[in-house]
Point group: C2
Chain length 226, copies 2
């Protein structure tokens, strides 16, 4: 898979540290910041990896990304953050786009887009950045809700811990190709081969059972698409 | 959220070790093996967490689960397995079921099902178990393909590393409730609240560009549903 040639967003290319330099499937590695941001923008749940008592712990959590920072709630990482407040984390965002169905089981694979970000998150304490970070996280998870729902008050802000991770050490892998055994001897087997796409879609909004009648579903909720 | 009372599948309940005993959101914790297996059976991509040079690394990979074992490819973990062959891993499987849209931003959340499994994986060397493990992994990822596609030959089996993780130390969290601010003061704000479901669906199969004409798409591919 060729490297892309898009110019990014005027920022430095993704760093190539020892752990983000792709080894096994280098043709799937991308080094462009625009691709990182595209993968991050396409989702709202990441898998956060931390080390706790020497063992890994991987938890899903919502995030929001700006051009240079990934924000996520501190509560999900509280155990590890208490244990090691300056420890490196790994945040992985994955979109599974479909199955690659080959003639042989051995050549089966998955098409996906994946971003991995490493770094030591910092606790956001500046009130302005905290509010802005929560806005970014909210708008990535539920676009339109920051302006529609009631925003956090002083007490709620104090009860929320927000972490910020610099988007400096990151890697992106994208796999989007058809099966690779179409030119080999297995092509003569008469076995169907191709891709089975996997898609996500938003369903019909389900009102809270205690919602009073007469409150319409806002357009940004009922009309949400991927 | 109440604990379920289903009886499981005749096995021991999930272990409650220090790291799988849920702390922060205990009402979402389930302890039933049937719930673990239901979450594992509903997907085929996990996020594998390992510790490499003291830092976490989280990579997505396909898996297959039996009643007592989770199988995954060793290649994705090769860097860490070389570095620490007896090290603990954390395998997390997450299904995002939708957004919980509350009256206040603070009460927004995500409905999800998540299983976390900890353990030290073993490399599968027994040929019979390796073939069976690959069958389980293949059938979970692409049901029907083990019998339809060409199975691995001796050379391909040798080139494949398969890891097995016992399903003994695991936890399950399920969040499926409506917003929690429907009875509080924010209910008077006239803001719509409820759930926005998120679903996955398989698209139309896309034939390999080099697939000869006349090979039909098998029913197990074209008819796949969640």
């Amino acid at each position: 898979m060729a490297e892309t040639s898009s110019a990014g967003v005027g920022q430095a290319p993704l760093s190539g540290t020892d752990r983000t330099r792709l080894r096994r499937i280098s043709e799937e590695g991308r080094t462009d910041r625009a691709e990182l941001h595209a993968v991050l923008a396409a989702g709202f749940v990441c898998h956060l990896g931390v080390v706790l008592d020497g063992a890994p712990m991987v938890v899903p959590t919502v995030y929001g990304a700006t051009a240079d920072t990934l924000y996520f709630h501190g509560s999900v990482a509280s155990r590890s953050l208490v244990a090691a407040p300056d420890a490196t984390v790994c945040v992985t965002v994955t979109h599974v786009d479909g199955l690659v169905l080959a003639r042989s089981v051995f050549e089966h694979s998955v098409n996906y887009r994946c971003a991995m970000v490493y770094g030591v998150p910092r606790l956001v304490t500046d009130p302005e950045e905290k509010l802005e970070g929560l806005r970014v996280l909210t708008e990535q998870t539920a676009p339109g809700q920051w302006d529609y729902a009631r925003r956090p008050n002083r007490k709620e802000l104090a009860a929320t811990s927000l972490l910020a991770l610099d988007l400096t050490e990151a890697s992106v892998k994208i796999s989007e190709d058809p099966p690779e055994d179409g030119e080999g001897p297995d092509a003569a087997l008469g076995i169907w081969a191709g891709q089975l796409p996997l898609r996500q879609n938003w369903g019909t909004p389900v009102p809270d059972p205690v919602l009073p009648a007469g409150i319409p579903v806002p357009a940004h909720i009922v009309g949400r698409t991927f």
